[in-house]
């Protein structure tokens, strides 16, 4: 394999890993959304539900983040492989931070 092809391979493998993490965090978001609070005393259930709902949201953000990284890597590999040298512009919106800044 030529050096160039090998490098595209590494980037694509990276993208696959991010896709796996995306799936993992999708599972996390789902599980948090469905987590049972009925075992807790009523006085605690409200706080527990608020916590779970917030964290289901965080997990969804992580999922989106992983999706973003995967997409960026796929685009990078495509850019380097293609004869069209124009950047795909996906990097501009890359952000590893949680929260509104995303």
């Amino acid at each position: 394999m030529s050096q160039l092809q090998y490098e595209f391979g590494a980037i694509n493998v990276g993208a696959s890993h991010w896709e796996e993490l995306e799936a993992l965090m999708a599972d996390a978001a789902k599980e948090l959304g469905q987590a049972p609070v009925s075992g807790l005393a009523p006085g605690v259930q409200g706080a527990a539900s608020a916590f779970l709902s917030a964290w289901a949201g965080f997990a969804e953000e992580s999922r989106a983040m992983a999706n973003g990284f995967a997409g960026a890597l796929r685009a990078a590999a495509a850019d380097m492989g293609g004869t069209d040298q124009s950047q795909s512009g996906q990097y501009d919106s890359l952000d590893g931070r949680m929260g509104p800044g995303q």
């Binding site: 490098e7 595209f8 605690v44």
Partner: protein
């Protein structure tokens, strides 16, 4: 006598309501949160690993690397926060189980009191032509009944406070981890109550001595105690000076947490090899603890219960630290701590916990009725094998000796004014470790037993030990080749052996019978090195007497000796050994 006499019968009280909540349901929630923590950890690890991708360069790559790095760091914080909340839910469930047990007891008391009240009323109504003494008898009964109702009210109030505190603590913990800022903070998931308690003087996080830690715990309210167990289970579970029951509560939270989190990673397919080892260690610990909890005392038929006194599966590069006890270390009259030897790691905990069961049984069966607790302590870094350089030198034994002495200081400090009779038992390399503890670090025990010892470390004589010469006992199977590694007479160490052979005349400890029938004809007999705690053996019989506080009654055997003109000689070589013989080697009802 005429006129009406009124006898005040106390009103039945209090109303006792079952607390809300279901421990099993709470555990399910904890399970989901531990799984979440595992996923966040995986994201953090993988994210870190994915920062460097060969073949990419330029400003876009740099932007990616920065973003991935930030993401990884934040996910470490998120994982830590959600794990803390998971621990708090586990602690809530464990406490709720205890509270439900107390609820049943309170209800039973109320029922009994109500029954006595009904009897009293019936007796009052049935009394006609009451004499003065009839009246004062009934009044006395009424007064006594009133006292007992008051006591129940007081106990119920205190219990109710605990129920409320348990709910409040969990609610606060959820609240401390819900906002994104909190979730990302290094204090995410830590209740304010726990944070303020852990900052008080004498806290185990401040490097305080065992006595100071004991005093710190004494000074905490019940609510603070529950809060720190939930928030800092790994710190509380290993803090010398704290009661064993407290360490046990905290360590069980940690253990449940590891089982859930690592089990979820196993299910997700994201578990790596060191996590797999940690999960295996956790499962074996769970098994050993279940065996200890299920064990029944041979005399009372009741379950003394097990205690997880130490649980640290990541220590020493994954070999782990663990200590499992049978019986109650906080209240037993006689407490024995067993330190194992070469190549022991946490994976061995099930069979060693079984040996502790044998020791408990033997001490009770042949004992004077005193209560017993026996603990297997793997709190030091054992060398991995005889060809490990660490075995041929005493460094690990010295470090281990210091740790063992600290553990004993912790056991002492936690008992305060109710000291136990403490025996330290060291096997193989663990006996050299125990020798360091007693010889160099002033081990605070009453009796020391060395079995299968390759050498007594820094001490040339039993009188060098902190317990005094009369309290040093040695068991050596004549076919135990490891014992040959001990130095004899004036030969000197020459880099082989780990000190003076403690079964020798030179060392001058009390040697007890420790032979086995069916022993081989030569020292190439693997079983000779590690059968000292087998049931119905001479050695277990004698060790149990020592643990029970009756070391003066062991069956002594002649010490080995090293004449100047030849090889060391062991008189036990030719004695006919026994097995299962009452008064010599019977350690249980057949």
């Amino acid at each position: 006598m005429s006129g009406t006499v009124t006898i005040e019968v106390p009103a039945p009280q209090p109303e006792i309501r079952r607390p809300d909540g279901d421990p099993g349901g709470a555990d399910s929630l904890a399970q989901a949160l531990y799984a979440t923590a595992g996923r966040y950890e995986e994201f953090a690890d993988a994210g870190e690993g994915l920062r460097d991708l060969s073949g990419w360069w330029g400003s876009a790559y740099t932007a990616y690397q920065e973003a991935a790095g930030t993401a990884s760091g934040e996910h470490v914080s998120l994982a830590r926060t959600v794990k803390r909340v998971a621990n708090a839910v586990t602690a809530y469930a464990d406490t709720l189980r205890d509270l439900l047990r107390t609820y049943d007891e309170l209800r039973d008391r109320r029922t009994a009191l109500d029954g006595d009240r009904a009897d009293l009323i019936a007796d009052i109504n049935a009394t006609t032509d009451a004499t003065p003494s009839d009246i004062s008898a009934l009044q006395a009964r009424a007064a006594y009944l009133a006292e007992r109702y008051q006591a129940l009210v007081a106990d119920h109030d205190s219990w109710l406070r605990q129920v409320t505190a348990n709910e409040d603590l969990l609610r606060h913990t959820f609240e401390s981890a819900t906002g994104l800022g909190d979730a990302l903070s290094e204090f995410g998931g830590l209740s304010d109550l726990a944070q303020s308690a852990i900052c008080k003087v004498g806290s185990p996080m401040s490097g305080a001595s065992p006595e100071q830690v004991a005093a710190w715990w004494e000074g905490l309210t019940d609510a603070e105690r529950e809060a720190v167990i939930a928030a800092y289970p790994d710190v509380i579970g290993s803090a010398d000076g704290l009661p064993a029951s407290v360490r046990d509560d905290a360590n069980r939270v940690s253990l449940d947490g590891d089982l859930a989190r690592l089990g979820a990673k196993e299910d997700d397919g994201t578990i790596d090899s060191s996590e797999r080892d940690a999960l295996d260690n956790a499962r074996k610990t769970e098994e050993a603890l279940a065996d200890a909890d299920a064990f029944t005392d041979p005399i009372t038929g009741e379950r003394p219960g097990g205690q997880l006194w130490l649980y640290d599966p990541g220590a020493f590069d994954g070999d782990g630290r663990v200590a499992v006890a049978i019986g109650d270390l906080d209240t037993a009259d006689d407490v024995a701590v067993f330190t194992p030897g070469i190549s022991t790691d946490m994976g061995d905990v099930v069979s060693y916990a079984n040996d502790m069961q044998h020791l408990y049984e033997a001490t009770r069966y042949n004992g004077d009725g005193s209560s017993v607790a026996t603990m297997f302590w793997l709190g030091y870094d054992t060398p991995s094998g005889p060809i490990d350089w660490a075995t041929l030198t005493e460094g690990r034994a010295e470090d281990g000796g210091r740790r063992l002495a600290d553990a004993f200081d912790g056991l002492r400090a936690s008992r305060g004014d109710d000291p136990a009779h403490l025996t330290a038992i060291g096997h193989s390399y663990g006996s050299t470790t125990t020798s360091y503890a007693a010889g160099s670090f002033d081990l605070d025990a009453e009796d020391v037993v060395l079995i299968g010892s390759p050498g007594a470390g820094p001490s040339d004589e039993a009188s060098d030990f902190s317990v005094g010469q009369d309290h040093v006992y040695v068991g050596r199977d004549s076919r135990d080749f490891v014992a040959f590694l001990g130095d004899e007479g004036w030969v000197g160490k020459f880099g082989i052996g780990l000190g003076t052979d403690p079964s020798s005349e030179d060392f001058d400890a009390t040697r007890f019978e420790a032979e086995r029938p069916g022993r081989g004809a030569t020292p190439i007999d693997g079983g000779a090195h590690s059968s000292y705690l087998a049931h119905d053996s001479e050695s277990l019989y004698n060790i149990s007497l020592i643990v029970d506080g009756h070391g003066d009654q062991v069956n002594e055997s002649a010490q080995s000796y090293d004449p100047w003109y030849g090889e060391p000689e062991d008189p036990e070589w030719t004695r006919d050994p026994s097995s299962g013989v009452p008064g010599r080697s019977e350690t249980r009802e057949p």
